[in-house]
Symmetry: C2
Subunit: 275 residues, 2 copies
């Protein structure tokens, strides 16, 4: 199966566009997990076990793993091993570099960890991210419109009357000869999300910014999905994984994840009745 | 000492603008090093010991360390511990992310590893790199014009008649309230290097692309330095560290490094006589 087939399969099977962001800050996990050798992994394992039937993907922001020291590399591996094969895994590292270095970055993300998707930064151009676009069962999500305030600093600058991010989107489409490119478009910017979806009707979108970052969920669904109400991957991180910091954190995480999953599906019903 | 003072001090002391790129591919180190527990570190240690009196900086591209597995994190630490305190160390990871994630990235690069400089990607804007710009003894080198072919894909797009990289340079200058911002400008693009130096006469430049990537050394010196013939950090990687792959690799590396150091100084004499 190529990436899009795999994505559609799991979105239908679990009836879910929800991606849980396992951006696990080891200082924020419930205290009782400190009794274990790797509290970060123990946290992830429990969140995965409690939510794997109601998500389409898990996204790991690598900053939270590389910053804990040598063990972070293992924790990523262990976490990935716990995620069922059919679920999409996204390695969020926003990488990209000159070819000889990008080769090593991709070796880690695409071959060693073997994420089914990665995030890459377009600023350095095609050869800086090409190693992430080699396999058609793996998707390179190119940053288009990010969810942070700084997005406006450069992404919205106008070139020939169009913002930079539109040039990124159009160029990404040209590069998509293997049908394995996706886009990152923040839920905090609904107008841009709508515009990008109109420019790229068939690309999978990774949509961060819902939850703590206050992106609008209804717009994320309405403008993030393709015409069939699919292939948007709506990431929610902190508001799910830190729903409680007591012994009930898995139950609470599942509760909140279910609320998101179901609310997303209600919006899909509203805007994509045909599905 | 703030970063610029530290940089000038070591450039004068070692009479050198040369930075050696320790982008050590563990599969390319001399075979006899495989007898050691950490061949990558053994390689770095010997290169550092053989060249530390003739460089101003060492740059580690983190892709070469994170991709070897858990030990890479240690190898970075060990390598940094071997570099004399007065020499600039640059953590080349081209990071940047939403604030909560960038915080973790900077925790690793600026506090744990404690590089004196880091490279950061401007696409996500100011808040995505702000954690790298907190200490005035550490410099955040913002990618402006990179040395790879892909640089032309977006960096050269025109906005209001000026290429994107010029907007990055002008914005970087505005952000430079703590005098701890630098720019990455590739030696493979001399016209752009000249232009960027004219726009930012006082910022330190990290200049990759000399050597294997065939950037022009004379232009790198002429247009990369400030008016005094200083604060350019000219990075040479593979053509120094892989000068030989036999038992004489340290001697050969020193030979080649000296050639670069001295050639750079001849160009400095030619273009900046006053120094």
């Amino acid at each position: 199966m190529n990436f899009l087939q795999k994505l559609k399969y799991i979105q239908r099977k679990n009836n879910s566009l929800l991606c849980i962001g396992l951006d696990t800050d080891v200082s924020k996990v419930p205290e009782f997990l400190y009794a274990y050798g790797d509290p970060q992994y123990e946290f992830n394992r429990r969140i995965i076990d409690a939510t794997k039937d109601i998500v389409c993907a898990y996204k790991l922001n690598i900053a939270f793993y590389e910053s804990v020291g040598e063990h972070g590399w293992y924790t990523v591996h262990q976490t990935l091993a716990r995620i069922p094969e059919e679920i999409i895994t996204i390695g969020d590292g926003k990488r990209g570099d000159i070819p000889s270095s990008a080769e090593r970055q991709a070796l880690l993300f695409c071959e060693d960890w073997e994420f089914s998707g990665t995030t890459v930064n377009p600023y350095m151009g095609k050869d800086a991210i090409e190693p992430f676009m080699r396999r058609n069962d793996q998707c390179a999500f190119i940053l288009a419109v990010t969810s942070n305030n700084g997005a406006k600093d450069f992404q919205h600058l106008k070139l020939k009357g169009k913002p930079l991010y539109e040039h990124v989107v159009k160029t990404a489409k040209k590069w998509n000869t293997k049908k394995n490119i996706g886009l990152v478009v923040g839920a905090t910017r609904p107008a841009e999300l709508k515009r990008v979806r109109s420019l790229a009707p068939e690309l999978p979108f990774l949509i961060p910014g819902v939850g703590t970052q206050k992106g609008d969920l209804e717009y994320a669904v309405r403008y993030g999905c393709d015409a069939k109400g699919e292939i948007a991957i709506i990431n929610v991180g902190r508001s799910i994984i830190y729903a409680s910091n007591g012994e009930d954190f898995t139950e609470k995480a599942r509760e909140v994840a279910l609320k998101y999953r179901d609310q997303i599906n209600r919006y899909r019903e509203k805007y994509f009745r045909s599905r």
